[in-house]
Symmetry: C2
DNA sequence: CAATATACTTGCATACTGCAATTATCTATG
DNA sequence: CATAGATAATTGCAGTATGCAAGTATATTG
């Protein structure tokens, strides 16, 4: 009654499984960044992402923001609320359609963004410094392909992945 | 008093920033997988990661598990608790040192793992199918480098990244 | 101008996390 | 061999995040 469990039919080694490897790098890099903007500005992850979006596209509405940084409407609303509380953003009713609130970055929001962006760029630079020029180029195109395919995988939910005959 | 915010000193475009791109792919791929094992087995993300570790290394103790899947001791303890409740794992005191509880996968845990692993492998296969052989090879070595560098970035906390002169 | 649709927002129940304090066990020392 | 101190893991609790139903404000349509 204590025999070892049967051998694996399908071996999946976590440390060699592509999604886990991507996750690991992302998580290890996100932790110090979150520590920085969290302790320095009291910003959450959603808050930072939204700040980055409105820094680039000032006056965006909540839907656009959500699309740009992969957040659902609830998270966007709360993140904007946080930015407004911190004085990093202001909401103003849209000019033509007042259901869409245009979110604008403030001067101090811009300052915070610049400091966080510098920190983030430094991290990115450290990562890229380990790669050859050829690897950097390949990584870029590879990531574009993975982004597109993972987006396809994500939409449609997990049930659509069970009865599969790899869609082209 | 309503002039547009000053132009960016340091432009960081979220969608082109390496850490975000990695995060995005990881998140888009993790969502359907989490949906699958969550709804099918009532497993949390930590539970799945731990299950994958003990499937590969049966009888590991909590510290080893934590190291293998980047979870802190609290999360490991709770995750094991969940697996035990679900009947996917058993805890047994270590043979020599009874402070170390050896965690073993059960037959039904193995079954669950195999099904989740098949699902995970299918996702990985879909991602890899989009890449050329050369890209797959380059991605592998690139990820090894990024894993190593991100681990270095992570240890030491964010403060060590401020006063930087990129350590070799 | 009611009825429906859209774009958010809020409230609340649940789940997750971080950390202090505990438990159980082992090691070292007088 | 008793006792003090380390170590591995667990538990309790407080704060926080998240998911979703319901609500508010605005616009559009018949």
């Amino acid at each position: 009654m204590r025999q070892p469990a049967p051998a694996p039919d399908d071996d999946l080694k976590l440390s060699a499984w592509l999604p886990y490897r991507l996750f690991l790098v992302a998580a290890q890099v996100a932790r110090p960044l979150e520590g920085f903007y969290g302790e320095t500005f009291g910003l959450s992850q959603a808050g930072w992402r939204i700040l980055a979006v409105i820094a680039e596209r000032d006056g965006a509405n909540a839907s656009e923001i959500g699309r740009a940084c992969a957040l659902d409407p609830f998270a966007v609303s709360r993140g904007i609320g946080q930015l407004v509380e911190l004085g990093f953003a202001v909401r103003r009713p849209g000019k033509t359609d007042r259901r869409f609130a245009a979110v604008s970055i403030t001067r101090s929001g811009r300052n915070a963004f610049n400091r966080i962006a510098a920190f983030g760029s430094a991290i990115e630079a450290r990562l890229l410094a380990r790669l050859s020029e050829a690897e950097r180029v390949t990584l870029d195109s590879t990531l574009h392909k993975l982004e597109a395919e993972s987006a396809r995988i994500d939409t449609g939910g997990w049930r659509s992945l069970l009865d599969n005959t790899a869609a082209s």
